[in-house]
């Protein structure tokens, strides 16, 4: 296990480097000039040239990238072009909120999706199954902006149960997390359902269910545990996706996550901030998937990592 972890971590470093290179190159090739965006609409050509020199944007791609890596090795993510403060400061001011929303979102996804999926599987082809299916499609198809706005309108404005967006307490987290939960819950429900059905009809489990031992707790535990495998994959992926920022939900609820930061940075080509967010997102993705991979053997002991 130790060897496996070490290998994964090394691979992760390679991935991160690869991502920084790709992102850096993309931003370099983008037909937009950060110096011009900083200089603004009233600057002279001299000012733009001077700013470009100040930021080292005249250099070639390899030189700029090497300089970036050198600073990165010291933990220096640079300074935001627009705000002039350190990228690490900007990220740390928002990462806590993103982390909380990620936890809350996954919590609601599982809360909604797992029981619904199990119900649909066990009550297959009944009205319950059909409604879970339609509900899942509804949740997935509904645009998050609209769902969020509706939730705010009904549960925070018309009936002031929750605060009207913002950040600061558990009450603030519930609606945005629930919005994420609705969208993702549909996926989890459907996947859980098909996974359950697959397990139920396998091997001895099928016989046990057919024999009427379906009420047995052992059978239940075995079934659900095995059915959770693809769900674990999805949770791992969700960790990565959510940590990269969910700009729509953050915008509607005024949640100070890194999604909003990234969006604004992209508008003005604030390269250090964009790179910083991409890094955070990449780390989270790698860690999320690693976590999922580590959990698989816990659910299905037959899974081994040979190579």
């Amino acid at each position: 296990m130790g060897g496996y972890l070490l290998r994964r971590l090394l691979q992760s470093v390679v991935i991160l480097l690869g991502i920084t290179l790709i992102t850096f190159a993309l931003l370099y090739l983008l037909p937009a000039d950060p110096a011009r965006m900083i200089a603004g609409r009233s600057a002279t050509a001299e000012t733009v040239t001077q700013i470009r020199a100040e930021l080292g944007l005249n250099e070639s791609l390899p030189v700029q990238y090497a300089r970036y890596l050198a600073r990165l090795a010291h933990g220096d993510l640079g300074r935001s072009y627009a705000q002039k403060i350190e990228v690490t400061e900007l990220l740390s001011s928002r990462i806590g909120a993103t982390f909380l929303l990620m936890l809350g979102g996954i919590f609601f996804e599982l809360l909604i999706g797992i029981p619904a999926g199990i119900l649909a599987a066990v009550r297959r082809r009944t009205a319950a199954d059909q409604s879970v299916m339609v509900g899942a499609f509804l949740g997935v198809s509904a645009p998050q902006f609209v769902v969020g706005l509706l939730l705010l309108y009904i549960l925070a404005y018309k009936v002031p149960v929750f605060p009207l967006g913002g950040f600061g307490s558990l009450a603030h987290l519930i609606l945005p997390a629930f919005t994420l939960g609705i969208a993702g819950g549909g996926w989890y429900a459907r996947v859980m359902r098909s996974s359950m059905l697959d397990v139920i009809h396998r091997d001895f489990v099928r016989t046990a269910w057919a024999k009427g031992l379906s009420g047995s707790r052992v059978i239940w535990k075995h079934t659900v545990r095995n059915a959770l495998l693809p769900v674990v994959s999805m949770v791992g992926l969700d960790i990565g996706t959510f940590m990269g920022g969910v700009v729509v939900v953050e915008s509607v609820f005024g949640w100070p996550g890194i999604g909003q930061l990234a969006w604004q940075a992209i508008q003005i080509v604030d390269i250090p901030v964009i790179m910083g967010v991409v890094m955070v997102s990449a780390i989270a993705i790698v860690l999320g998937n690693l976590l999922a991979d580590l959990v698989y053997p816990l659910l299905d002991p037959k899974i081994r990592y040979g190579g």
Binding site: L30, P31, A32, D33, R36, M37, I38, A39, G40, R41, S42, A43, T44, A45, E46, T47, Q50, I51, A53, E54, L55, R79, A82, Q83, K84, I85, L90, S93, A97, L149, L152, Y153, A156, Y157, P160, V161, F162, P163, L164, G165, G166, F167, G168, S169, L170, A171, H172, I174, E250, S251, V252, F253, G254, P256, Q260, L261, Q264, Q267, I268, V269
Partner: protein, 533 residues
């Protein structure tokens, strides 16, 4: 059961709005983050007026108007040739760190903007101070044209007379900063500002809120009225509107959300809370005069006659007036008599035929992708199609449109909405130099029409030399003539002049104009007050 648990949680945890009971306070919302409070750098919608409330310049404007008045300066004189301005500082003005402001601070502040290390977007405004170019290029250690005469007197010498110079002494970039604090804080100065303004920074939680409190030592007695202002950032306009109705917010910093606009205006209670004001803004389509077939002025005039501006204004819920010329109505020099091009499709088609395009032609229209600009661009696209001009629409991220506009020969047509042009100061030359002049034609220019008319250029230069206040009407007349010539050349299709609509809660009072101030954009924080005051 679950609902009651959730309700219990919600009731137990206190809301975190910056409402302090018993104080004269105000809450303002913004969608985007506030990037910096450094007057040398801040150039956004959100921070422009906040910076004006934290810092001061030698000059300012009468609240809610475009009239220049001395501010930090007690008085000023202009030399006979118009090239030297001497300002006398008011005595006893202090920075919030306790130190008195002296003339040397004024010189330092402007030099700071001209210093390339500051990366200031405002360096261009002080370009014609003598010695500025040499200083920026690093050839000299100071700007020779700024002279400290004594502790409270500073003089600016210009290369050539510039009638708009006083405006540059009122703009944020010239606001006075204390050198010792800038040097101590370095890049953090933008987040820990120290100025002379009516307010000082109390708290800034990045990405969430920014709180200002009144400066008890502000030099203008009786100002500001408010004790505290809280800015909530990251708030969607639709949600801000809901918060306003629940009494949690006082002013919508981004204005009334378009989705609610019609409803608000027709609701008797809500419409009373609306504040309306003109802006120094024009939205226009630039026609690249260097890209065929737009090299032919007849084609450009034809386009001008093809657009149904009334319909476009309707698309944005009538929150603008159709434009016939370059300057907005609020701008001194606006030509009330100019009729512009009529909306006449037949005449437009005729002109196109005369120019050799009886069947129209294809071209590309760029626009930025934030609402409502794609919609406006599609409306323009349809109007052009009606006269046979098939315009392919490219709605892109703002930075790429700006880049395309500044690249020679690339963008034939650009809808300026969301990007340009709102005046930096209320003078007619601000609509010329950056966006219509020959001097601006360098790579990366904002003169997206790539327009250059030397006759007009000379006329504007002459107008700028008319410095004395007695020459003001002659100057305006010259500008009217210049802009008429420009419209004759038709490098633009002026579409509309936006009016700003916002809402203020019933708790706030003060002249309506202060909530949609054309200079202290968007709100003049020093001057607004609560109804109890």
């Amino acid at each position: 059961m679950l609902v009651s648990v959730l309700v219990a949680i919600a009731l137990v945890t206190p809301p975190l709005w910056g409402q302090s009971s018993g104080r004269a306070s105000m809450v303002v919302t913004f969608k985007d983050d506030i990037s910096t409070l450094d007057p040398a750098i801040g150039y956004d919608w959100q921070n422009w007026s906040i910076i004006k409330s934290l810092f001061d310049g030698l000059m300012d404007y009468e609240p809610g108007t475009t009239k220049l008045v001395p501010h930090l300066a007690q008085s000023y004189t202009v030399s006979a040739d118009g090239k030297t301005y001497t300002f006398k500082l008011r005595p006893g003005i202090k920075f919030t760190n306790g130190r008195t402001v002296v003339a040397r601070d004024v010189k330092y502040s402007v030099e700071r903007v001209l210093n390339p290390k500051t990366q200031s977007p405002g360096a261009g405004f002080f370009g014609n101070i003598r010695g500025a170019a040499a200083f920026s290029a690093g050839k000299t250690k100071e700007v020779s044209g700024i002279r400290v005469i004594d502790r409270s007197t500073v003089a600016f010498s210009l290369d050539k007379a510039n009638a708009a110079f006083l405006h540059t002494m009122a703009i944020n970039f010239s606001h006075v900063v204390p050198r010792e604090e800038v040097q101590r804080l370095g890049a953090q100065f933008g987040h820990k500002p120290v100025g002379t303004g009516a307010f000082r920074l109390r708290e800034w939680v990045l990405g969430q809120r920014l709180v200002l409190e009144r400066n008890p030592n502000y030099f203008l007695r009786g100002r500001p009225y408010l004790d505290r202002i809280t800015f909530q950032v990251g708030v969607e306009p639709n949600v801000a509107f809901l918060r306003l109705q629940r009494g949690q917010v006082d002013v919508l910093g981004d204005g009334i959300p378009p989705a609610q606009f019609a409803r608000v205006m027709s609701d008797s209670k809500l419409s009373r809370l609306v504040a309306v004001g003109d802006q120094l803004q024009t939205g226009y389509v630039t026609i690249n005069t260097q890209v065929p077939p737009f090299t032919d002025v007849r084609v450009r005039r034809a386009l001008n006659m093809a657009i149904d501006k009334q319909r476009i204004v309707r698309i944005i819920n009538n929150r603008a007036v159709p434009a016939k010329q370059v300057l907005p109505p609020l701008m001194p020099g606006y030509d009330r008599e100019y009729a512009g091009y009529p909306f006449d499709r037949e005449q437009a088609k005729q002109l196109l035929a005369e120019a050799g395009h009886p069947n129209g032609f294809s071209t590309v229209l760029y626009a930025n992708n934030t609402d409502p600009n794609p919609r406006i661009a599609q409306a323009i696209q349809q109007d052009l199609a009606a006269i046979g001009v098939k315009a392919e629409l490219k709605t892109l991220a703002q930075s790429t449109v700006i880049e395309a506009g500044g690249t020679k020969g690339q963008a034939p047509l650009i809808w300026s909405g969301g990007m340009a042009w709102i005046a930096d100061y209320p003078d007619a030359n601000n609509f010329y130099w950056p966006i219509l002049s020959c001097a601006a034609l360098t790579p990366g220019t904002w003169n997206w029409a790539w327009y250059c008319n030397q006759t007009v250029e000379k006329m504007v230069e002459e107008a700028d030399a008319l410095v004395q206040s007695s020459q003001a009407s002659a100057r305006e007349a010259k500008f009217r003539e210049a802009y008429r010539m420009i419209m004759n050349d038709a490098p633009w299709i002026p579409i509309f002049h936006e009016r700003r609509y916002t809402m203020r809660s019933a708790r706030m009072s003060g002249q309506v104009a202060l909530f949609v101030d054309p200079i202290h954009i968007p709100v003049h924080y020093d001057e607004v007050k609560r109804t109890s005051q």
